[in-house]
Amino acid sequence: MVERFLKLVIDILSTPAVLVALISLVGLIILKKPLSEIIKGTTKTFLGFLVISAGANIIVGSLDPFGQMFQHAFNVNGVVPNNEAIVAMALTEYGSTTAFIMFFGMLANILIARFTRLKFIFLTGHHTLYMACMLAVILAVSGLKGVPLIIVGSLALGLIMAAFPAICQPFMRKITGNDNVGFGHFSSLGYALSGVVGKVVGKGSRSTEDIKFPKGLGFLRDSSVTISLTMVVLYVIIALFAGPAYVEGELSGGTHYIVFSIIQGVTFAAGVFVILTGVRLVLAEIVPAFKGISTKLVPNSKPALDCPVVFPYAPNAVLIGFFCSFLGGIVGMVALGLAGAVIILPGVVPHFFTGATAGVFGNATGGVRGATIGAFANGLLITFLPVFLMPVLGDLGFASTTFSDADFAASGIVLGQVAKMFGAAGVTVTVVGLVVLAVVFGLFKRNKKTNDSNQIGA
């Protein structure tokens, strides 16, 4: 009897989908929701997690031949950074740890916002999930296990959620004209870089919004269309290099190599589409609950929101930023090829969102020149950073995809290097130390009116 019960508990805690459903069930009960809502919310979360793993299989199936073609054509590894893809793969092994870190990390974010000067509540739920997942991987690779792994991971996540928006805040004030809203998207370093670059190069440059743009490019805002087109182009180019003999003989089972490439390219986009649907289902209950709790517990907190929150402030900068960042990605890819390193191909999702945002940030500080050069710099940054992240991801470092945004890479590289030098204990001390530092820093009397911990030329 006891054995059967233990088996039940272990199976529940080691199946991420069940675990996440349980977490949202408990949350909904605490919020005293009606029974129908509880049933609906719990089911949706459960379903969403299973949909994510289904999407992962689609993506892996599509990226696998891509990696092989690339290998055959150039004799090096080609990697297409895509958060959805790498997270979906990682969740098969680290799902439960990720779920726990995400849940307690959100609580840690609220506590850190309450007791330090980092007043940001990070509401971009899918990025919270991805960051939780990356921390789970990095910390597990460093040798942490069980409860300590979850505690350190949650503290790290909470701190990251509150600290990175602070880096963007000086620029957010400039873009939105007030201090009410923070920016929550884990490529903050790229945006701050673009903002700083804009400041340096943008003297006297006019705003991007004074340019007349053809309306015909608006369809690029629809990410599934953009991903499909870009992946098809990438796939076909690689297929041409790999040659019909190899592709038709080894991979496509005799299907014409160009047809096969087009289908695989769009299949990748289909996988991303499916994963996003799953993520949406998982977050549907968690984010509003998080927002409700944080509003009650942390007076004068600021919500940190996703990229598109700044897009309406400079729609032209969005497209300019995307193109310039993508260009930076291509230049970076060529540089990596010449250096003989792992080749990071420009992923369309990261370049669209981070490039567009970098464009808006650059435009705010340096007009057209700031938007173009700033976004280009962002493109270089998100191409080079993953190269250094991959070695610390353990087995996942050898996948044909990886985390795509600057903050994932930066946090991962720092924690990974600390782990390499000082082991699991070193990582624990570093994370706990940083949190304590933030709290102590918050206890000092404020002699400034702002809540920023770092004043980057605001």
Partner: protein, 94 residues
């Protein structure tokens, strides 16, 4: 009656917008309106009676039917004013 908030990826902004619309509806004391969010690719005219989005993707939404375009997804007063106007036209609030 159903309102659908839309953004490019259907993850962050439209979700925030959905929560803000729900808050506005609660402030106005309106019940019985379902609010959800979606990405631009998946949204179809049958999904809702009324669509709401920020101005940067409004150009890609003509096929959906009645769209409320707002300047900023976090400007509660702006959302409230626009919603009130449309709901008054529809005779849902007086």
């Amino acid at each position: 009656m159903k309102i659908l908030a839309v953004c490019g990826s259907g993850l962050g902004s439209s979700f925030m917008l959905e929560m803000n619309v729900q808050q506005v509806l609660a402030e106005l004391g309106i019940t019985g309106i379902e609010v959800s969010h979606s990405d631009l690719s998946s949204a179809t005219p049958d999904d809702a009676d009324l669509f709401i989005a920020a101005k940067d993707i409004a150009d890609g939404m003509h096929h959906l039917g009645e769209v409320i375009v707002i300047d900023s997804i976090i400007d509660m007063d702006g959302i409230k004013a626009k919603l009130q106007e449309v709901l008054q036209q529809k005779g849902i609030i007086s």
